[in-house]
Structures are given as structure tokens and as C-alpha cells.
Symmetry: C2
DNA sequence: CCGCATCCTCATGGATACTG
DNA sequence: CAGTATCCATGAGGATGCGG
């Protein structure tokens, strides 16, 4: 039975780009859904587990709204439905990275009891390292909770990706607190190594970056 | 009687910069309040009228939350209380401008029945003109609904301000639709002039910008 | 299992009236 | 002017059901 509830579309009614963007992606969970899809398409259930706490009906409604707004698209994958960003939706990467950078001070208090997904580092690493300069193109892998996140810095700045075809030679293993601490500048490599929470090719890590950020 | 409702602080509970930023500024109206304060401090009533539609209790609650989060601060001005952004709050300018730029396609449908405040152009103009190059430092004033918005483009990019001490020599008069149309590239200067909706020193306007954006 | 749809409860948002 | 207090509508969160 088709009893689709109209989402009411409560709009700010303002002739302003920010307000109109907000009408589209400002509802609760929306930006976090986009964040999940930034590294690549996901299935419905992968979204529910990664977002831990969202009600399934809400996720359905939000995905529909984002699809109607041209931010998200459904694809029929091999084993079911895949949700992916449209090209325009993927361009949200820029403002979201800027917002992640603004929020750096909020990460200094540490993880606490919060949930964490290695996937989120794909947005966070480039955001936090935005001002890092690099003498040559550099790739460093972070093995976080079994998932390989590869950070790449070249002249156009830092980017990150999940499980690329070509793994980098330098791979470090560490938990989220250590990775964020290192990247946000609140922790030195020496401190992390001394605590036994950072393992891997430390020399290569030192060589990879300038001393500016102590990484 | 002190019957202050505890805002409950419903958090996403995620160790992620974006999520924590959202816990702080993601509630309804929050980012629009910040947008209002970007060009300069305002009083409570100025916020209620400019945001047209926000309930006074909500505005109170949001201002308190933003103050507690270190984004907004209260100042005691000459004639009452002024709300202003903290230095960190003002840094939201960068992600908000990026979001405004992302939302450019949403402005192409025109104003419609939406409300409008010239103040909003302080964010919108630099956002939409982000990729405009300029041979020399240029200042152009837009007189919109009686308020003078001054756009300045130099080698570090475009910025805008309200009613500066030193008004520019080139001042144009136009409504919001025309200004946005010109700046977003959906309208040529000739079209705007032909419609009688753009008046002022058009020659200077032509000379001020490159032909790239037809402005 | 996966991808939803329905139902229920309670927190949040919105409009209006009122006050120091 | 700068908020409070109050009431009602809406939206979020959680549990459950159900066809494929």
C-alpha cells in the first residue's frame, strides 16, 4: 500500500544559498549520511551500522529526500541496492572538509565514549592536514582497526582513500586516538611510539613530512 | 521562577570532527544565526526580524547554546545587549562560504516568494565569485534595498562588507535577483541594464572584472 | 539476512501571549 | 527591548512486522 508520508519540506523560505542548502542537507543525519558515502557507495544496512543510532525509517526518509534533491542516487549493484553520491553531491566534500577543519579543537578532548569508524578518517585526515607542506609527493598508510586508510600529499594538498589497489610502502598501525592526535598536532610521533600505540615504519613517517606539524 | 529547560544536548556520539561540529552548530537555525552575525554584531530584535519566522524562545535557546559552545558571545553595547561571534565562531566563515558556493545552482530558480536581506550578500557575493580573477584590486558597491554592500576583489580573492567608512567610487543600484543573477553568471550586464533593473556606473563595472564571468 | 513500512512514545520546534 | 511561559504540531527514536 502506497502510504508515502510527505516530508512536509519545512523551508526557511530565504533567498540565500546557505539557507537553501540547509533546506536540502540541513536536517538531522543528512550530512553524516553524505560523509559515509564520500569514500564510496554503501548499502542500506552498512549505513545503519556505521551511523549507529539512526532509526531505519529516518534513514529511508533521508535517503529519499537526498535523492529527490539530487545529492544521492540509488544504484543496482551485484548484491542489492547501493547508495552513492551524485557528482554534485560529491562536491559537498569541499565545505565538509572545511567544517571538519574548523572543528579540530573539538577533537582535542579525545574519543571518550564516542563511536568511531575508520572510514571517517578519509574526511578528517585531509581536513586536519590542510596546511601541511610536503617536499615530494608522499603516501602513508594507516592501519586502523584493520582498515587501511591511505593518506597522500602532493602539491595540490592532502587527500585520503580507503583500500586502494596500490598499497603504499609505509604502513603504520594505530588506534583512532593516536592517528587523530598525530595528525591534529596534539601528539608527537615519539610519544605515540613510547606508548606502544604506534607501530610500523616510523623512520619513513618522519621522512615523509616536514617538521612543521611534528608528524 | 527559574524554569530553565535543560536542552538535553542530544549528541551523535561520534569521534568525528564533522559530527562534533554538528552537535554544536547543526541544530535548526544555528547556522543562519551565525550568518547574520558574520558581517557584525546584532541585537536580539534585529535577529528576530532578519530571520523572520524564528520563535523568540528558540532564538534565546540557540544563542545560549552557541554561547556555551564558544561560538557566540554577548557584549554590553551602548544601548543594550549585542550578540557577536567569537574569533573561533567567525572562522565558520570559510566552511559557510564553501557551502554557499556549493548551493549556487539552488539560487538559479530565482527569488520566488522567499524573504531576503541585503546583509546575506556579504556571504553570497564572495562565495559565488570565488573563481573570478582580477587584474587589479577592484571595489564595487551594490546599493540593494538602501543598504550599501561593497565587494572587493584583490589577489587573495573576493570579500564583501557592509557600509564601510570609505565608500567606493563605483556604486550600482539593483534588486537582489539582479545582483545574484549577475554574480552567479545567469545574467549579463546588458540584460540587467535593458530591463532597467541595474543603474549606476556601468562602464566602471565592465572595466572592473574580466570577461570570464560576463560581469 | 536486506530493505524497508507501521506504530507508538517522547523530545523538539513553532506560534502566540505575556512580563520586567 | 529582551526575553519567558505556555500550548500545540511535528519530528526523532525505538520496537516490530513483513515481503523478497
Amino acid at each position: 500500500m502506497a502510504n508515502l508520508k510527505e516530508p512536509a519540506a519545512r523551508s526557511y523560505g530565504q533567498y540565500c544559498g546557505l539557507a537553501r542548502a540547509w533546506d536540502l542537507v540541513g536536517d538531522r543525519w543528512n550530512l553524516l549520511i553524505v560523509r559515509e558515502l564520500l569514500p564510496g557507495p554503501l548499502r542500506f544496512n552498512e549505513l545503519t551500522t556505521s551511523l549507529a543510532g539512526i532509526a531505519t525509517n529516518l534513514l529511508t526518509e533521508r535517503l529519499r529526500a537526498l535523492e529527490a534533491g539530487g545529492v544521492v542516487e540509488r544504484r543496482l549493484g551485484d548484491r542489492g541496492i547501493l547508495y552513492a553520491l551524485t557528482p554534485w553531491g560529491a562536491e559537498l566534500h569541499t565545505p565538509m572538509e572545511a567544517l571538519g577543519r574548523w572543528a579540530a579543537p573539538l577533537l582535542m578532548s579525545g574519543r571518550g565514549a564516542d563511536s568511531f569508524q575508520p572510514r571517517w578518517l578519509v574526511l578528517a585526515l585531509p581536513a586536519l592536514l590542510h596546511d601541511v607542506t610536503c617536499t615530494a609527493t608522499t603516501e602513508v598508510g594507516f592501519n586502523v582497526e584493520g582498515l587501511l586508510i591511505v593518506l597522500r600529499i602532493d602539491e595540490s594538498g592532502p587527500t585520503a582513500a580507503i583500500d586502494p589497489d596500490q598499497p603504499p610502502t609505509t604502513v603504520l598501525t594505530a588506534g583512532p586516538d593516536v592517528v587523530v592526535g598525530l595528525v591534529a598536532g596534539g601528539l608527537t610521533v615519539e610519544q605515540a611510539v613510547a606508548a606502544g600505540e604506534l607501530t610500523g615504519d616510523i623512520e619513513a613517517l618522519h621522512a615523509a613530512f616536514t617538521d612543521e606539524r611534528r608528524l
